[in-house]
Amino acid sequence: MTEKKRPLLDELKKGKWPSFVNEMEKSAAKKPVVNTLMDLVERSYEEKRVHWKHGGIVGVRGYGGGVIGRYCDLPEEYPDVAEFHTIRVNQPSGWFYTSDAIRTLCDVWEKHGSGLTNMHGATGDAILLGTTTDHLQDCFNDLSDNGFDLGGSGSNLRTPSACCGPARCEYACFDTLDLCHHLTNEYQDELHRPMWPYKFKIKISGCPNDCTSSIARADLSIIGTWRDNIQVNQEAVKEYVNNGFDVKEEVLAHCPCNCITFDEEKKELSIDDENCTRCMHCISAMPKALRVGKEKGATLLLGGKATIVQSAFLSWVIKPFIKLDKEDGYQELHDILERIWDWWDENAKVRERVGELIYRKGMGEFLKATGLEPVPQMVHHPRANPYFFWYPEDFAAEKEASEAGKEVAGSEVSE
């Protein structure tokens, strides 16, 4: 067969950056199916429409998720990619692999699929692109024999992901890697067997720099924080200044809370921690002089998602501070999480994310159902979300109390 020309794909090889087209051409030498795929992509670019059908349901034994069915809508013209299913493989915590593990993954995929991978998808999984239905179970078995498992897809818990945390970063306020691993193991049923109205994503960042972008991309964002004061090393501050670092311009000017002052004579920083929102800017700018506090934990935020039923949401605070305790198996987090799931599962419509349900039902309903305390940190900005937290039973209780009070008062009088 003569090589077809693919001018539109060729355009994508011209930048100074890596190109998936180059990578696919390399793969095509081993796997002819990749040539067919590139022809199909070229055609999609020409016609400005995709040629994958919407949906498809395939899977492996015992799992309701992890494999996404992909069918070409022009199977006669592109028979090699008529079936081109995607497999999601649960990535290790913090995406730490040995090179041996990656080789193994690629070997399994060359045996059972196109050899094309996407490392990694937005949720965090290693994505294996393109195989046929009759390869799925064998591929899964081989992955499983080598210690890999599938990730989430469909209306289930999506593969939790975490930043590199304490393995490589001094800002980490807790062990993100351990928590991610722990949640993945604890919630295997939720991860593999879809049972909910829609997807639920958990992302874990060790500090407010939020390297997993959890606030925009996860239903539950777990973000490291501290509740005491930023640790300041004044000697190191002086060193920054002596080396020509402009503290006023680089740090003070960017502090969103205006809670830092700088004594130019003494070359000392002081921070009004009461008014600090833990934005991390000063710490990231002067890592040698400033450190996160000593009493560490995390903030839980809920509701982030991309546009579907409602517009895109950022997660918002539902728990300003939680201790993440390895020793007690993160019990407090489990309790909160399971109460959230229960309420959401019971009340949501099909394909309604938890953030959208809160939007529809109100934060008051949510807090009542989950037993979380309403706190000022939940307010986006002043006058933004005025919650009412009184229920008929509160008034009844108040009335009862006051009547009981009258009786007592009355009896005093009669005596």
Partner: protein, 105 residues
Amino acid sequence: MPFIEVNGKQIETDEDGFIVNLEDWNEDVALALAKTEQVEELTEDHWKVVNYLKDYYKEYGIAPMVRKVVKQTGFSLKEIYELFPTGPAKGACKIAGLPKPTGCV
């Protein structure tokens, strides 16, 4: 178009093996579909789930949410996966003759 053959009759399916026309469904078809979903025979428990799905679909025109299936049939999700190893959406719905669940994954 792909099809399955039941009692000498060809029944049209989509590429995932879901039947295209609900009128084609009968108990023999269900059994033939079951074999494609790693269910060798349909026991009383299987029928309980299948009939629930069918009735729900007839009434509401959509498949019930998994939580409903669990509550109404009394089977835990684990038991449903034991009955239908490929899961409620793929296995049980297919056997009940419901159209393929669609949507974004």
